[in-house]
């Protein structure tokens, strides 16, 4: 009986280690606060990535058509994050974050969308779930999108967030430039800056 229990434990540890090592390998991290999964939805996508995407984003598009960037804090799938119980550390909705866009993003268009902890759109009085590149056309750079529960003083482009709990902040780049996709880890993406708050 003890041997069987030890076998179960061993299997859990091995499976978790393989999954985490794999996710670290296929996760692209940009130091400006973003991550993306490599090679989504391609014919040669490996089985583990395929299963993870089937669970969290079934029928996600290929990166040549749409690149999905997730805002996150720290190093995804690191031992530190695992010990905190958050393989990917999402942003805190109660905190004021600024998305600073310093230059045009080379894609046909892009959107920045906020999701509540349940991964659905966050209800707010403004009816504002996202900002689109088309809405900001002609604005001088840098463009700052303020993510906060209350409209920060002087904020022109406010994306309301829940007062507490983690949020999902997704930037989608549609038909992105090939160079951006290829050099995602080094590309000067918009910066996710943590401001005041808890």
């Amino acid at each position: 009986m003890i041997a069987v229990a030890a076998g179960v434990l061993l299997a859990v540890v091995v499976a978790a280690a393989v999954l985490l090592a794999h996710m670290r390998q296929v996760t692209l991290v940009n130091p400006r606060g973003w991550m993306a999964i490599r090679n989504i939805g391609a014919q040669d996508t490996d089985p583990i990535t395929r299963a993870v995407i089937a669970r969290f984003g079934l029928f996600a598009n290929s990166s040549a058509e749409a690149l999905y960037l997730q805002a996150q804090a720290g190093e995804p799938f690191s031992l530190r994050n695992i010990l905190r119980g958050e393989p990917i550390r999402r942003l805190d909705g109660g905190r004021h974050h600024r998305i600073r866009i310093e230059r045009p993003i080379p894609a046909e268009w892009w959107s920045l969308t906020l999701y509540a902890a349940d991964d659905y759109l966050f209800p707010n009085a403004e009816g504002r779930y996202a900002w689109l590149s088309q809405e900001l056309e002609g604005e001088p750079y840098p463009i700052v999108i303020d993510v906060a529960p209350e409209r920060p003083a002087g904020a022109r482009f406010w994306l309301p967030s829940p007062p507490e709990g983690p949020i999902g902040l997704t930037m989608r780049l549609y038909r992105p430039d090939v160079e951006l996709v290829r050099n995602l880890e080094r590309y000067p993406l918009p910066a996710v800056e943590a401001g005041e708050g808890r």
Partner: protein, 172 residues
């Protein structure tokens, strides 16, 4: 020694089961989604048109609130399909997905295109037809349409436009 062997055997059996489950999971999820989609669309080769996602929308997690989605299960067992997408200069895309969740083709708006986009969707081993030929690796799969909504006033016109997409049986 017996205990060690039993422990390793238990672990091996569990890991084999987990690996099989992981391998099968995407196709199982896709299969369920396809069944549900065909049901709400009233059959295969028919589109289901979704409303613009808002905070009450629960069809999929993390929807784009700026895209009008339509989806269809295509079925090529009775022969290839001719798809005609109406001309639209702003962003739209048609994503072709196989039952293993791989995207095998994308079409959409393109600079310089002024007329409708015609696609001949056929199985890999079948002969080609007119228009752009897309070979499907399987007899069934999913086609997802996405239309960019720049402002709420555009929704009704875009809704009319996407419903003009033609799905016809083509003779190879």
């Amino acid at each position: 020694m017996r205990y060690l062997l039993l422990m390793l055997a238990t672990a091996a059996v569990i890991l084999a089961a987990v690996s099989t489950a992981v391998l099968r999971y995407p196709a199982r999820q896709a299969g369920r989604a396809m069944e549900g989609l065909a049901e709400i669309a009233g059959g295969v080769n028919r589109f289901h048109h979704e409303r613009l996602p808002d905070e009450t929308w629960r069809t999929i997690v993390r929807p784009s609130p700026d895209l009008l989605y339509s989806a269809m299960v295509f079925d090529l067992r009775a022969g290839p399909l001719r798809l005609t997408f109406p001309h639209h200069a702003d962003y739209w895309s048609a994503q072709f997905i196989d039952p293993r969740t791989s995207t095998f083709a994308n079409v959409g708006n393109s600079a310089g295109v002024t007329g409708p986009t015609r696609v001949f969707l056929t199985l890999k081993d079948k002969t080609a037809g007119e228009g752009r030929v897309i070979h499907s690796p399987e007899a069934q799969g999913v086609l997802i349409l996405r239309y960019l909504v720049r402002k709420p006033d555009d929704i009704s016109a875009l809704d009319r436009l996407r419903r003009m997409t033609l799905v016809e049986r083509a003779v190879p």
